[in-house]
């Protein structure tokens, strides 16, 4: 071989055929990259779009103002304002008050279409309303006897009408609502009796039964999810990182560590419901922890998340160049110091990515919760931690799961709304990790 330059004399401004080909390949490669990212982002936007499209309306809710006379004869026959007596009046009694109030108001104003049955008019009120009123009265017994303006929820289908989910045509076919009722609702809205506003209850209120989709909220689920994620975060990240440090940096390379390695990869492949089986057996039946409690949920999700954190964490630790470890060891740092001062910070971005994905999965997981009793209808808020960890609670994905199963289509909107809340929850959780990750990212 002589040292003959293969491309001597060619101009840089003109690309030769081979370079053209290589550049074309380069462009193609780059395009694939861009296309795949675009594909991913598009898919995300599409999914988000569909979620937002069907879920945003859950954050608004139709309510109506009713002028109710809190008749003492109905609410407190003895007139002694004895709480025990007051409590004897059930929601049925309150419902009657509200219905009368509405019917009176509507007929007075002449809003109701001719020949509409009082029962149908009353049907515009949510079944939740009597409970709201009852709670208010029980809290302020002095209201009895007065006439107050009370803001109550409208029936879910009326709400759906204003959100475009229910139409006159569908109402004609619907056994739960009639076009007349919708006409009346429209008239009430025009008269300013009904209005649509921000639905705080959706985020703070507990779940409601199938009969009152308009009242269903995420309060208990958000608390439950927050408690569980707290447990998962506090346990799985340190344990996962510790395990990966041991396996990657300290463990002797022998069959035992191979076994642990294979075992961890395998745990990542175990379907989440199996972790539910484990949780039921280990935490509830063996350790006697309470059913439906965030603590059990958190522990189960921790076990499930661990391998999903360990695997990326190990890869990240492995990718730290040995020269940096040498440098630290060379100035007399112990292995432990080397790892904690140099290797770990450099591996942090990868570890955080693993954590982001692992926790995102844990946050959205339903199947294991099915077996430990968290897929449940829970209306009472769990107490503040630590006791709250042992109270029954629900979780956001559980709420989504159960709402998607319900018959009333109004719950579909709620489920999508809940997904939005879940995504916001996730965004909040992730953003911290993303910021941290960017801080630690560097090339060497």
């Amino acid at each position: 071989m002589t040292l003959e330059a293969t491309n001597t004399g060619s101009s840089l401004y003109r690309t030769d055929a081979r370079t053209k080909r290589r550049n074309a390949a380069e462009k193609r490669f780059r395009f694939y990259g861009m296309a795949t990212v675009a594909f991913g982002v598009l898919a995300l936007l599409l999914l988000l779009g569909s979620i937002l499209g069907s879920g945003l309306s859950a954050f608004r809710q139709t309510t109506m103002d009713l002028t109710v006379t809190l008749d003492e004869k109905v609410l407190d026959k003895k007139g002694a304002r004895d709480p025990a007596d007051l409590a004897k009046v059930t929601t049925v009694g309150y419902a009657k008050l509200l219905e009368t109030a509405l019917i009176q108001e509507v007929t007075e104003k002449g809003l109701a279409p001719a020949g509409m049955k009082p029962k149908d008019i009353a049907g515009l009120i949510s079944k939740e309303a009597p409970a709201q009123l009852r709670n208010k009265v029980l809290a302020h017994p002095d209201l009895i006897g007065q006439t107050i303006t009370f803001n109550v929820l409208a029936n879910g289908r009326v709400d759906g009408f204003f959100k475009g989910r229910v139409t006159m045509e569908s109402a004609a076919l619907d056994s739960n609502i009639s076009p007349e009722q919708l006409t009346l609702a429209q008239a009430m809205r025009d008269a300013g009796l009904m209005s649509m506003g921000f639905n705080l209850g959706f985020i703070t209120a507990p779940d409601a039964s199938e009969l009152r989709p308009e009242a269903a909220g995420l309060g208990v689920a958000v608390l439950g999810s927050a408690y569980m994620m707290l447990i998962v975060l506090v346990l799985s990240l340190p344990i996962g990182v510790a395990a990966s440090i041991y396996l990657e940096e300290f463990a002797p390379k022998n069959w035992i560590t191979d076994l642990i390695e294979v075992n961890i990869s395998n745990l990542a492949a175990v379907p989440s419901i199996v972790f539910g089986i484990l949780g039921l057996a280990a935490f509830i039946n063996f350790a006697g922890m309470p059913q439906s409690s965030p603590v059990v949920g958190g522990l189960v999700l921790t076990l499930m998340t661990l391998p999903r954190i360990i695997i990326p964490a190990r890869a990240a630790l492995k990718s730290v160049p040995p020269s940096i470890k040498d440098a630290a060891l060379g100035v007399g740092a112990s292995k432990m110091q080397t790892v904690f001062h140099h290797v770990l910070p450099l591996a942090t971005p990868g570890i955080l990515t693993g954590a982001i994905i692992g926790l995102a999965q844990a946050l959205g997981e339903t199947a294991p919760l099915l077996l430990i009793g968290m897929v449940a209808f829970v209306r009472d808020y769990p107490a503040a931690p630590p006791e709250g960890f042992f109270d029954p609670a629900s979780a956001i994905p559980v709420q989504i799961y159960s709402w998607t199963q319900r018959a009333d289509p109004a719950f579909t909107e709620r489920a999508s709304g809940a997904i939005i809340v879940l995504m916001i929850f996730l965004l909040v959780m992730n953003s911290l990790a993303v910021v941290l990750r960017r801080k630690f990212e560097r090339r060497w």
Binding site: N23, E26, F29, R30, Y32, G33, T36, V37, G40, V41, A43, L44, L47, L48, S50, I51, A242, A243, Y246, F250, I260, E261, N263, S265, N266, L267, A268, A269, V270, P271, I273, V274, F275, I277, L280, A281, A282, L303, L306, I310, P312, R314, A315, A316, K318, V320, G350, I357, Q361, L363, G364, A367, L370, L422, M423, L426, L427, N430, V434, W444
Partner: protein, 486 residues
């Protein structure tokens, strides 16, 4: 003393030990930290550990052992007359425990004095009703012998608790004293605390092992139970999966395994190329700003609840594939198909591959890139021939994780691929996976002790072993391939 308070006291003692240890070490060195073997903090740590660890370990052991000890003592008090027909000693003992707990509650509420409790007799007072008032359920009326046993049990537990507190605190103090006497300027405090941390790390790795043991244990009994009801060979080698409500089902696992592999394969077929190309683009090509937004965005894909994906598969992708591919090609008219589920699942798995690989690619030293560019390689050549091979182990890890996720997914498969267990090559046919069947068999309405339900455990265990084999294989391949790069 309650357990929580005891633990807190021990930790507080250890904290004090830390401060004293640190100070003492500095004093021993005449105030000059340079004359110490280790940094002063390590001396504090060693005292902390000697104070807290033995005490807490003994505390833990005590909690584990005490009930067993007391129970064996108490059960000696029970005569055969106390054990009703058809019941067992363990059942009676659980009653004993419950009653004792109830008595504690009664005492705690101050409803009855200790003396009154001691004098209470099962045949004279309505203990069941009393207990019920404090929320303790007792299955049956209480026999006198059982009640006496419960009282003994309660006394012994109380005595044990006192002994435990004393012992724990004594140990903590002794540990602290011992650790403090050991402090000299030459004492290798760093080694001590690092050894401890090392054990902590080992402990953390053992959690994974324990989880596995737990999973196997929680599956194996019901699996054995299942195989008593259903022949082993039919389960493993039959190609029909056809459970029936009333029994007489065919429960062959083969079509499920096939479906699992097929769906996962398609999902990876989507996720791996897309993920790797995205990772390469983000790490190597994308401007900083794009990377900073696109990466977290892709990660959101992993956080969208799978039900959303499932509905997307069912409502959008399925009919699309059916109307534009399957039907014109004459490959079927099912709107749910392996392909639908695989495609949609692939989208969900993108971030597993892309984000994790992106970090690994980013960690490849810049000097390697420079070396390649300096030779006149294009960026893509550099990526393909230098960076990807160097990042390979991490990328394989990411792919394995994605594959694991694919195997474990339920919702997308249920809605996207349907519930029919079939063995077919046609990607436009409905199929189902092992995981889906585990969920559905476990949560249905049939009786629990029937093979139709118990098969879930057998499926779980089989899948566990199956993926274990796959993982061993993967490890073997990665090792073999990696050798040339290290």
């Amino acid at each position: 003393m309650s357990l929580g308070i005891l633990t807190l006291i021990v930790i507080a003692l250890a904290g004090i030990g830390y401060v004293i240890g640190r100070r003492l070490a500095l004093k021993k060195a005449g105030g000059d930290a340079r004359r110490l073997h280790s940094l002063p903090g390590y001396y504090g740590q060693s005292v902390f550990l000697f104070t807290a660890v033995p005490a807490l370990v003994v505390l833990g052991l005590w909690i584990l052992v005490q009930p067993a000890l007391i129970e064996s003592r108490v059960s000696a008090h029970l005569t055969s007359a106390d054990i009703p027909e058809g019941s067992s000693l363990s059942l009676v003992m659980s009653d004993v425990r419950r009653i004792a707990g109830g008595l504690d509650l009664i005492a705690a509420q101050g409803a009855l004095s200790e003396d009154a409790l001691t004098n209470m007799r099962a045949d004279l007072s309505d203990i069941r009703g009393r207990l019920a008032t404090v929320g303790v359920a007792v299955g049956d009326t209480i026999r006198p012998g059982v009640f006496e046993a419960a009282k003994t049990y309660r006394d012994m537990t109380a005595a044990g608790a006192t002994a435990m507190s004393v012992l724990t605190l004594a140990l903590a103090l002794a540990g602290m004293a011992f650790a403090l006497t050991r402090i000299t300027a030459e004492f290798r405090a760093r080694n001590v605390s690092e050894t401890f941390v090392r054990w902590l790390l080992i402990g953390a790795s053992l959690v994974a092992i324990l989880t596995t043991v737990g999973i196997v244990l929680s599956l194996v009994f019901e699996t054995v139970h299942f195989f008593r009801l259903y022949p082993l060979d039919k389960f493993f080698f039959s190609a029909t999966w056809n459970p029936k409500f009333g029994g007489g089902s065919d429960l062959g696992i083969l079509p499920l395994i096939w479906g699992t592999l097929y769906v996962s394969f398609i999902a990876l077929f989507v996720a791996v190329p897309v993920g790797i190309f995205s990772a390469i683009y983000l790490a190597e090509y994308a401007p900083k700003k794009i990377r900073a937004t696109a990466k977290p965005m892709l990660e959101l894909l992993a956080g969208i609840p799978t039900i959303v994906y499932g509905l997307f598969a069912l409502i959008t992708v399925g009919p699309l594939l059916r109307d534009y591919f399957a039907a014109p090609l004459g490959l079927g008219s099912s709107s749910s198909s392996v392909l639908t589920a695989g495609l949609v699942m692939g989208i969900m798995l993108i971030p597993f591959v892309s984000s994790l690989s992106d970090d690994i690619i980013n960690a490849v030293p810049q000097s390697l890139r420079d070396g390649s560019y300096g030779l006149g390689a294009t960026q893509s050549e550099t990526v393909k021939q230098v960076i990807l091979p160097a990042a390979l182990p991490g990328i394989v890890g990411a792919i394995l994780l994605a594959a694991s996720r694919a195997i474990g997914e339920t919702m997308i498969v249920v809605l996207g691929a349907g519930a029919a267990a079939k063995m077919s090559l046609n990607p436009f046919e409905a199929m189902t996976t092992v995981t889906v069947k585990i969920v559905s068999q476990l949560t249905g309405d049939t009786e629990f002790a029937s093979p139709e339900t118990l098969v879930a455990f057998a499926l779980g265990l089989t899948l566990f072993v199956f993926t274990l084999c796959l993982n061993v294989l993967a490890l073997y391949i990665v090792r073999k391939y990696r050798e040339q790069y290290e």
